[in-house]
Amino acid sequence: MTLPCSSSPSRGCVYQIEDLAKDYDGGRIQALRSVNLTIHEGDFVSILGRSGCGKSTLLQMLGTLEEPSRGSFSYRGSAVDGNFDSCAYRSRDIGFIFQSFHLLPTFTALENVLMPMLATRTTQRERMGRATELLHAVGLGERLNHMPSKLSGGERQRVAIARSLANQPRVLLADEPTGNLDSESGNDVMELLSRIHREQGLTVLVVTHDPVVAAFTRREIRMKDGMVVSDTVRGGSGL
């Protein structure tokens, strides 16, 4: 099913979110309550809020890691429902970055970056070339064969960023990417995400509780108690 984009900006609509809600524990916990949003092509968005405000839940639903309890959303005009190929979407269209990195501990940095590509039809040669190139791009060219345990927190997150870019996604979903890092490493990671957004024109959604991190993005969506309370564009008007 193809859904129209509610606003009609010059840029294409990546996500159209309508009345999206998520309950846990049989409805006793309402993590997300009727969220309506539109994310456009090339947006660099931060979703800001305190712990438990529903920002990560929103990101997980956009990543099809969780199913909504109510409401719906579409990706590039296609309804994300039972007929939507979530695996193909997660493999080809989006890249995930997690707070706790989620690197496979028994695999090297290079092998970790290869992982998403194993779900696609690429040759070993292509995969190796791409993974090596990505690790060089995030400044880890000298750490290809290091195990995650031998890398610093900032380096691990850069491996995770390289991994998220492995299948050349159109959207990056970053859940507290600096949450486990010191401020300097966090700064580096945000600089890297800004560069990726700038150079590759990707749509980037960053969930954070830190206004400093949010300051790297152009659009800032604030959430509270499972609802969007503000949506502003820096240097521009609110959406």
């Binding site: 890691l65 496979l104 998403p116």
Partner: protein, 366 residues
Amino acid sequence: MALRGLLRRPLRTFFTAAGVATGIAAIIAIVGLSSGMEKSWARGLKARGTDVVVSGKGSGIMPGLIDMNLTGRIAAYAECERATGVLWQQLSIEDSSMIVVSGREWSGFGWNNLKVTGGRLPQNGEEQAVVLGITAAEMLGKKPGDKIQIELEEFTVVGIVDGGAVVENGSITLALPLLQKAVGYPGKINFVNVQLKPMVTETAARALCRRIESEVPGLRATLASETLASNRSFRMIRAGSWATSLLAITAGIFGVLNTMLMSVFERTQELGLLSALGWRRRQIVFMVMVESIALALAGYVCGVVSGLGMLTGLARSPMLKGVLEPYVGPELLLTSLGIALLVGLACGIYPAWKAANTSPGVALRA
């Protein structure tokens, strides 16, 4: 990737594989012994030039006694070239454990295959003498000229012989009437060994067996190669061998299942991550199944090696030396490989299903 999963906890992987290996080793060793028993018996008969074995019906491995006059009746069948009566007994000889003692008609073809390696054969059917197979001589520590006690009778060892088969080499052979007297079964035998005429086909030989069984009540007739396999007691032994082995492999099954479940539970986050990275369910299922099968196959390889080692040790033990030679044929190796693969598959299915059906969001929060 599956290999990394297994090597993540090498000790657990080792002990799980060891569980499967124990089951496979039990199959190889126990079934290999019963197969060896069957083969040794068949080889012994073949070495004596026997095509068909006629015996009394009985519930034990050693068939019931029959009258030795039946030899003539069997020999009268048109397909028979010649027939000879044999009395087989397993006896404890002096300080040694059970040894096969074979009493053969002096004029029969049962002596023809014995190659004298030391001493001589008895001069006639009345001489109070025995020949020892080479293994029996070694086990008993006897040489030509020594005396040997069989039940209450004393005999002279006149020769050492190579009978061309393990059972033959582990036996004491003497003239039939002497053994009948020693064990108190005058006029009795338990086998009639039959040599068929050269033109008799296998089909005709089977038909002869059926005819003998129907015409002479109380007799069982089988092809030499199938004698033991058709024995009820031996079939029970073989069934017991498989049952024991399969019990052992059952322990291995629980080990693999436990390990695979533990492995999947421990890696819930990782499997969720792979799902989040776009891996399809079938890829996750495949990875877990490969891991489970690899574990079972590692157990199979170790099991075959240790099973063969156990068999070799058993065959050299004083209890079995000269009685049978272990036999592990390709069919046993393939059957146990099939069992190992089944164990791997069966133990992988539930953990794989579990891994593939956990929501990635839930898995990543675990």
